[in-house]
Amino acid sequence: MSQQALIQARDLHKYYSVKTGFFQANQSLQALSGASFDLYAGQTLAVVGESGCGKSTLARLLTLIEQPTAGKLSLDGIDLANANKKDVAKQLRQTVQMVFQDPFGSLNPRQKVGDILQEPLIINTNLNADQRRQQVLAMMQRVGLRDEHIHRYPHMFSGGQRQRIAIARALILKPKIVVLDEPVSALDVSIQAQVLNLLIELQQELGLAYVFISHDLSVVRHIADQVLVMYLGKPVEQGASEAVFNNPQHPYTQALLSATPQANTGHKRKRIKLTGELPSPLNPPSGCSFHPRCQHAVAQCKTTTPVMEQHGDVSVACLLVK
C-alpha cells in the first residue's frame, strides 16, 4: 500500500546573512545544508546532533516559522514553494504543530491554561465559546490533567505538567505532524518516562508523525523509527533506528554513541575521544566538515565534500565508507 509521505523534504538549505563587521560584507551562515527525508503517518523521525548542527533550524522550517533558502518541502501533499502563502498557511497550521523544549518558557505566564489552549481554536476555527471549552476539557483529560486546571496559571504546575499542557496545545488543532524540540530534556527522569509514554500513546491513537529532536541518544533509541544524524548543518548518517544504533558507519555517529554514558556498570566501553571544539558555522572546515576531529581522516577529506550515499539500510556521507 503506497501511502503518501506526510513530509517530503528534498535537499533543504537554510542560509542566514550575518553582519560580521561594520564595513565588511555580510557573511553567509550555513545553518542547514541539504537535509532530505520522507516521513509517514505513525512514524517518528529523530534528528540528532550537537549545538550548531542545524536541528533547530530544521524545526523552524518544518513549522513554517521560516522559509527554506533552497530545496523542496511538501507537507501533507502541499508543496510549499508553489502554493499561495496566505491560503496555505492556515491549512498548514492545522497540519503541523510544535512542542518546545523549555516547559517554563513555552507557556505564557500571564494567561490561564484554559486561555492558552483556546487560543489556537479562536484563531483558526469558528467554534463558539461552549464548543471551544468542550474541546479544551477533552484535550486536558487526554493528557492527564484535571478540568479545574484550566483556571490556573502555568507557574502553578510542575515541569512535567507544563509539558503536558504544551502537548495539549500542540494537539488541539488536530495536526498530523508534530515537531518536538527536545521535549523531555528539561524534565526529571521519572517524569520523562511519563511524558514519553503519553507521546507514544497519542501517536498510536491518532496516527501522528513525529519529528523528534533530541541529543539524548537513549531516549531516541527508544522512540525513533528513523534517525537523522547531523553535524554542522549537514546530515552525516540517516536510516532505520536499529541499523544506525547497532552498526554506526559514520565516524561522528560512532563517536557520539561512544561518548554517551550508559547506566550500566557492567562493561567499560572503549571511548572514542573526540578532540577539539565544534567549529563555528560561519567558518566551516573545507571538504568534509568533520575532518579536523576525525581519527580516520585522510588527505582527500580536506578537499572533497562527501555526499549521502546509500549503503544497505542507511545513508552515510563519508568518503571512507564504501
Binding site: 516559522i65 510544535m98 483556571h151 502553578m156
Partner: protein, 300 residues
C-alpha cells in the same frame, strides 16, 4: 512553586494571587504606610465637600492672614489659618487634593497609554518604524522636562488641562522605552513563537501575548510618574502656567501667597507640606510595589 489546592475555581486562583502579592507587599512597612496615607488622601478628595469646614472660595475679608489655631492670634474656626483674601487654608488644601490627584491620574493615563502603544509597535516591528519612534522620543527626552512643559503651555495657553497635556508628553518617552525593552525581551521567548505557530497575528501577539508580561515595570513606572506629575503640576502652578487662580491646586496656592512668605509663612508652608507628604507616600508605595512585583526578590 505555588501549591495547588484540591479544588480550584477562577475566584480562588485570583484571591490566592492577591494574598501572595499582599504578603510580599506588606513586608515593607513604609510602603504600607505610604499606601495608607494615599488612601487617606483619596478619601479626603472624594469627601472634600463633606469634611471641608468652609467653602474653598469663600472669602472672609475681615479674617485675612489669620495664623493657624495653635499660634497666637489663631482661631479654631480657621485651623490652618487663612490666606491673603481670607479664605480658609484647610478647606483649600482639602479641595486641592482633588485637583492634584486628578491631574496625576490623567497625566499617567495619557502618557502610559500612548507610550505603551508606541513602545509595543517599536519593539514589535523594528526597522524604520522603530527608528523613527525612538528618535522622536530621544528628542523629547533631550529637553529638560519642566522646560518642555513650559514651552508647550506657552504654545497651548495656561490652564490646568493644558498643563496636564504638556506634562504627559514629557513622560511618554520613559513608557515607550520600558515597553520597547520588555517587548524585545519577550519576543524571543518560546511562548510567543508558539502563538505564531498557532497563527496569531500581530495585534494578538502584541496585546495578548506580550503586553501582560511587561506590566510589572510599567506599573512601577506609572506609580512613580504619578508622584512626579503632582510635583510638576504644582511647579507649573507655582509659575503661573498651570492651574489658574482661584483653583486651589497646591502649587497655585503657593504662587498666589508668594509675597506673604515671610509675613504669613503658613500660607505657603502647608500647601508645600501637603505636596511633600503626598509625593513621599506615593514614592514609598511605588518602591514597595516594585519589590513585591520583582520575581527575583521573591522568597520561595
Amino acid at each position: 512553586m505555588t501549591p495547588l489546592t484540591t479544588t480550584t475555581t477562577s475566584y480562588s486562583v485570583r484571591s490566592q494571587q492577591w494574598r501572595e502579592f499582599w504578603f510580599y507587599f506588606s513586608v515593607n512597612k513604609t510602603a504600607v504606610a505610604g499606601l495608607v496615607f494615599l488612601v487617606g488622601v483619596v478619601l479626603m478628595a472624594i469627601l472634600a465637600d463633606v469634611i471641608s469646614p468652609h467653602l474653598p472660595t469663600e472669602q472672609y475679608r475681615e479674617f485675612a492672614e489669620v495664623p493657624p489655631a495653635w499660634m497666637e492670634g489663631g482661631q479654631i474656626r480657621f485651623f490652618l489659618g487663612t490666606d491673603y483674601a481670607g479664605r480658609d487654608m484647610l478647606s483649600r488644601i482639602i479641595h486641592g487634593a482633588r485637583l492634584s490627584l486628578i491631574a496625576g491620574c490623567i497625566v499617567v493615563l495619557m502618557s502610559a497609554s500612548i507610550g505603551v502603544l508606541l513602545g509595543l509597535v517599536a519593539g514589535f516591528r523594528g526597522g524604520w518604524v522603530e527608528t523613527i519612534i525612538m528618535r522622536i522620543m530621544d528628542t523629547i527626552m533631550a529637553v529638560p522636562g519642566l522646560l518642555m512643559a513650559l514651552v508647550l503651555v506657552a504654545v497651548l495657553g495656561p490652564g490646568l488641562l493644558n498643563a496636564m497635556v504638556a506634562i504627559a508628553i514629557t513622560y511618554t518617552p520613559s513608557f515607550v522605552r520600558l515597553t520597547r525593552a520588555s517587548t524585545m525581551t519577550e519576543l524571543n521567548k518560546d511562548y510567543v513563537t508558539a502563538s505564531k505557530v498557532a497563527g496569531a497575528g500581530p495585534i494578538r501577539l502584541m496585546f495578548i501575548s506580550i503586553l501582560p508580561n511587561c506590566m510589572a515595570p510599567l506599573i512601577v513606572q506609572g506609580t512613580l510618574s504619578f508622584s512626579t506629575a503632582i510635583l510638576d503640576t504644582a511647579a507649573l502652578g507655582f509659575l503661573g502656567m498651570g492651574a489658574q487662580a482661584p483653583l486651589p491646586e497646591w502649587g497655585t496656592l503657593i504662587a498666589e501667597n508668594r509675597d506673604l512668605m515671610l509675613s504669613a509663612p503658613w500660607t505657603v508652608t502647608f500647601p508645600g507640606i501637603a505636596i511633600l507628604l503626598a509625593v513621599l507616600a506615593i514614592n514609598l508605595m511605588g518602591d514597595g510595589l516594585r519589590d513585591a512585583l520583582d520575581p527575583k526578590l521573591k522568597r520561595s
